[in-house]
Amino acid sequence: MSGTYAHAPGFIAGDRPKIVTSRFEYEDSYTLQRYLATDGYQGLRAALGRAANEVHDEVKSATVLGRGGAGFPAGTKWGLTPQGVYPRYLVVNGDESEPGTYKDRLLMERDPHQLIEGCLIACYAAGLSQCFLYIRGEMALAQERVAAALNDAYAAGYVGKNILGSKFSVDIVLHWGAGAYVVGEETALIESLEGNRGMPRLKPPYFPAAIGLYGQPTIVNNVETLANLPWLMLNGAEAYTAIGTKTSPGTRMVAVSGHVNRPGVYEIINGITTFRDLLYKEEFCGGIRNGNKLKAFVPGGGSAPWFTEDQLDVAFEGPQAGAAGSMLGSGAVMVMDETTDIPAAALTLTRFYAHESCGKCTPCREGGTWLERILSRVVDGKGTMADLDQLIEVGTSICPGDFPHASNEKLGISAVPFPYKMNTICFVGPSAYAPVNSALVLFREEFEAKIVKRNTIPVTAVGAAS
């Protein structure tokens, strides 16, 4: 199939501008040799040829949105460090584990030097004196490729003391996790890096840029975010913002999985590509499998409220997706066709978040677990109508008020915009409820059908005294 490479399973190239996946076509894209032959470390050279604050300004003016989930601009984030407090650290979030998401893994496996160069540019611009590159524990190949790339980069003088013979010196330390989704939350990541259980920290402080690793100012950036920097340094903010829209410039990687003809990871144009393009155009997924009808899709990773065909024309732009009742999150679309058992599909996600709760906040620890139990009961045909109300009651104790959801013309409901209010420190608890709420709001009749069809005796009738 055109645009697919045997050496990069899952990635589909296409004929669009490429910022972070430009080397994926080469089988040896992960080697220093290939990297140097394709403009490698030239962005770093360009950056070091300017004062650090100028580099920072360039990144700020390019509005490089964070690609980890929250979409916070990297340049702004770097500016949140308190004046005059040193040392400052960079922690790279490569703990990619949001259901449906994988782009960071590909970037680490296929182009580790690009990530390393991005880390160096960030450290230079924001005055960060040591970098910790935290890779998810289960990603053996990514760890190997990044380790080998770091070894080569150190030997060649791109990392470590007096980089390229300059006064810029920084170590990049490869660190790896051991299996815990919640560690993707930036304060949990820092806890884990300090050798502790990976539990999110109480907020405030809201940003580890103020108080982070070892209590020092710490920038936590996603792998894909940093991978944008070499290109940006080489081509400038103007070229960067010429791609995409003003509020969402550049490209982003999106993984589309589930019931489409060509599931894959695509580098799309930020702010412009719509979900309809992505799901139906030939250059992307080429429609729903077997000519089936689309039932629903998760637009931004397992934590995101669901969309249906009513939202297909939403583009990959944060505010648009937010107003429509969801988020773009980590760039992961999961597609369900008409054959999907919606309550069962929601359960696979709720089970995930219930399992991954760190246990620190009661609404998440207890609420997530009960959502899973009650939903399992309903899916197994053993639920009652009261269970459906109970699901919403438990969800409301995690996220008070109206939970965001999409509009639906057929059902005559309008959208509740993102974000939600939450009674938990981090987003794991709300994420357990998001699929339940979406499924119940948009497909309540499927839940009711499972209850109508139940053939067990109602619990209240068992053992009645008379």
């Binding site: 040392p87 259901p99 449906g100 990603m139 150190y154 990392v159 006064k167 660190h175 299996g179 599909a345």
Partner: protein, 204 residues
């Protein structure tokens, strides 16, 4: 039941030396212990505590949070079948049933010959290639019952030993920072000044 070997202590000290605080090396050292013994032994946790300046209870406290650390022996090959949404939509439940039948154990169990431990896993970041699984954290994509059977047969016959190391080893390549190239880590309290390159001038 083993403390870290002499070679591994040397490696452990090299790893500890990269961090401003030794305790940051806890998880990497737990991986090292698991690589040595196939699982994390009590003695290893005591030893790691000595190396990073923590009690063995603190080390266990950290270790027990993370899915990958095992505290009793598992099979030579840990087979993790993903069951989260994308894989579930593409038939991972059927694959799990098939795997349980083929290996003769339920999810969570180990075959009597000690070769395989079967586990239900959460999202493994290969969602477009569903259903997927990992054997000792090495991927297999778009797995069918037939390809699962031949994978198990290959593993049993020792045909994949060069690709897939025994359980405990994750990455086969380690980072090494050459002494003459590394900046070195110092405790944060010993740094008070801005880095040299923040002088308002270009570094090059």
């Amino acid at each position: 039941m083993a403390r870290l070997t002499e070679d591994n202590v040397r490696l452990a000290k090299e790893i500890i030396g990269r961090y401003p605080r030794p305790r940051s090396a806890t998880i990497p050292l737990l991986h090292l212990a698991q690589q040595q013994d196939g699982y994390v032994t009590n003695d290893a946790m005591v030893h790691i505590g000595e190396l990073v300046g923590a009690t063995s209870a603190e080390v266990y406290g950290t270790a027990s949070f993370y899915e990958m650390f095992k505290f009793e022996p598992v099979g030579k090959y840990l087979v993790n079948i993903c069951g989260t949404m994308s894989c579930a939509l593409m038939g991972s439940e059927e694959l799990m049933h098939h795997a349980e039948h083929k290996l003769g154990v339920k999810a969570g169990g180990t075959t009597s010959d000690g070769m395989f431990t079967l586990e239900h896993a959460e999202c493994q970041a290969a969602c477009t290639e569903a259903p997927c699984l990992q054997v000792n954290y090495r991927y297999r994509f778009r797995v069918t019952p037939e390809s699962f059977d031949s994978l198990i047969d290959d593993l049993s016959a020792g045909r994949l030993t060069s690709e897939i190391p025994d359980h405990g080893t994750v990455a086969k390549v380690r980072q090494h920072i050459p002494a003459d190239r590394g900046v070195g880590a110092v405790p944060p309290e010993s740094v008070t000044e801005a880095p040299a390159w923040l002088d308002g001038k270009a570094a090059l």
